[in-house]
């Protein structure tokens, strides 16, 4: 299977690359960070003795996307599975962030993902089943004050995934939305997890096992995967609470957490 992974040089991207290589898939890795792509490419080569395709691409730029699509065409690579991992977040309240940053979230998490999905779907091999995994978030399940744009962008991906899955199921296209809690991918996230205390700990997902299960779930044709019992539990019961109450609770939780780690 040919798997295309965006955001492949981030922590989660790398985990997906390794998982797919272990499954003997052909991996095409893209990221805006060229240096990181070289790192993971060498890692895979030395560890598994396998080659992966890498191509640096800024999925928020149509020109960059164009040259990436040409690259796929040149190598005559048809993608069978698309992992939309690329995404970003800035912490803090809406008015305290530069608007540029808010714009970046939308450009990458939403527009970039849609652009990639559209391009890849239109060039796919229509005789074969096709799989899409969109990395949404646990934050997609409810509005989150102080992470408003990020949570809403992830909500967009969740709803979009559900709808697209239904739209295209007759064409053998399966779409899975992955909704993980915290993932210990870099120091800043770890600080954030620590600052959340008990909730940070309990909502954090084990990335190494999660990536394996995520791909299994996608291949089974599932539409949503929330890793972790506690996360499934809160998501389910959260549906019974009125949204103003949820936002109030979440505001308190994030206000407290962010005040401990952003001021450090």
């Amino acid at each position: 299977m040919n798997v295309l992974i965006t955001g492949a040089s981030g922590g989660l991207g790398r985990a997906f690359v390794n998982e797919c290589v272990k499954r003997e898939d052909t991996v095409i890795a893209t990221d805006i960070n060229q240096h990181g792509l070289v790192g993971i490419q060498q890692g895979v080569e030395h560890r598994f003795g396998k080659q992966i395709y890498t191509y640096p691409c800024d999925i928020t730029s149509p020109a960059s996307m164009n040259s990436f699509m040409n690259y796929l065409l040149e190598k005559s690579l048809k993608v069978d599975m698309l992992l939309n991992v690329a995404g970003l977040d800035y912490e803090g309240s809406f008015m305290k962030r530069d608007f540029c940053e808010t714009n970046n979230i939308i450009q990458l998490n939403i527009l970039g993902t849609l652009r990639m999905t559209y391009e890849i779907l239109s060039t796919r091999d229509k005789t074969k089943p096709f799989y899409i995994i969109n990395v949404s978030s646990l934050a997609a399940e409810q509005p989150i004050p102080l992470k408003a744009t990020y949570a809403a962008s992830k909500r967009f991906l969740l709803d979009f995934s559900y709808a697209l899955a239904e739209e295209m199921k007759r064409e053998k296209v399966h779409v899975l939305a992955l909704c993980p809690g915290g993932l210990a991918t870099k120091d800043s996230v770890i600080k954030a997890i620590k600052a959340q205390g008990f909730f940070g700990k309990i909502t954090t997902c084990h990335m190494e096992t999660m990536v394996h299960r995520t791909i299994n779930q996608a291949l089974k044709g599932k539409r949503k995967y929330i890793p972790g019992f506690f996360n499934k539990f809160t998501t389910f019961f959260g549906k019974f609470l009125p949204i103003p109450l949820i936002t109030k609770i979440l505001y308190k939780r994030w206000f407290f957490a962010q005040s401990t780690w952003l001021d450090q």
């Binding site: 790398r14 993971i40 190494e208």
Partner: protein
């Protein structure tokens, strides 16, 4: 003046070893992860002795490429300033993690820093060590006992167990010292592993969560000051001839696990060579 290179030399055991080295008249090269902390360490060391020669390098040893490039810089320095001779290499930098985290090559953090970084650094500096008839000292730990190398999944991708990964990395340190002796003793260098005992350092507090963090915080208070294990390192360095044993605790030989044998050490070296894309020579 003999030269000693110490990794993780800005705090904990590494800093104390650096102090002892300066006191004993060695030239100290340190590697640390932050320029600020490096500067603090340099100032501290300069207070120890006025005749000190100290040089610090800034590198994040988690990354394979960073180890390579800092090794290159240090090699230049050794060639220019130290007659091309390196007398001591203290592979001390280490970390503890609560979660599965990877470096940019996709290698797990504890394995990458505690083991792979020291393999790479040693490999790059071997010619200078041989020229200096040097000694390599690994910071290992008693916790390597009762542990076996998890060959099937050495980076614990199928369920991360932080403590197991740490213990395994400390077993790796011993295996690496073993294999170096096996291959290079005829060329006049020798490798050692030191068990520092329980030491009051912050290693278990950096980037860890809940239980690991709390247990470490309680446990470390029972530990001795890092200046105590530092004496073992300096004892090994100060002996006229290479001390015989492999594994030391409080300046005396200690028994290590039976897992530390030729078979395992060769296998681990082979795997590490593959992961780092390097090749050790020596007698096979």
């Amino acid at each position: 003046m003999k030269t000693v290179l110490i990794t993780g030399a800005t705090s904990g055991i590494g800093l104390e070893v650096a102090k002892e080295c300066v006191k004993n008249g060695y030239r100290v090269i340190g590697i640390g992860r932050s320029i600020e902390k490096n500067n603090t360490a340099i100032n501290l060391l300069k207070e120890t002795s006025e005749f000190s020669e100290i040089k610090y390098y800034n590198a994040d040893l988690l990354e394979v490429e960073a180890v390579k490039s800092v090794a290159k810089e240090i090699a230049c320095f050794i060639e220019a300033e130290c007659n091309g001779q390196l007398y001591g290499l203290i592979n001390n930098a280490g970390c503890v993690r609560s979660w599965f985290q990877t470096n940019s090559s996709g290698y797990e953090h504890q394995f990458a820093l505690n083991h792979l970084a020291s393999v790479m650094l040693t490999h790059q500096l071997l010619p200078y060590l041989i020229k200096g008839a040097g000694r390599i000292i690994m910071t290992s730990s008693k916790s390597h006992k009762l542990m076996k190398i998890h060959w099937k999944d050495i980076m614990f991708e199928k369920g991360y167990r932080p403590l197991m990964v740490y213990k395994q990395s400390k077993l790796c340190n011993l295996l690496f010292a073993y294999v170096i002796n096996d291959r290079y003793i005829s060329q006049g260098i020798k490798a050692y592993a030191v068990d520092p005992g329980l030491v009051n350092t912050r290693i278990g507090l950096k980037n860890t969560k809940g239980l690991v963090n709390k247990v470490w915080n309680i446990r470390r208070k029972l530990g001795v000051s890092p200046s105590i294990p530092a004496k073992t390192y300096i004892w090994i360095l100060n002996q006229k001839d290479h001390p015989n044993s492999l594994y030391y605790f409080q300046s005396a030989p200690r028994k290590h696990s039976k897992e530390v044998n030729k078979n395992n050490s060769d296998r681990l070296l082979y795997l590490s060579e593959k992961l780092l894309n390097i090749k050790f020579g020596g007698k096979l």
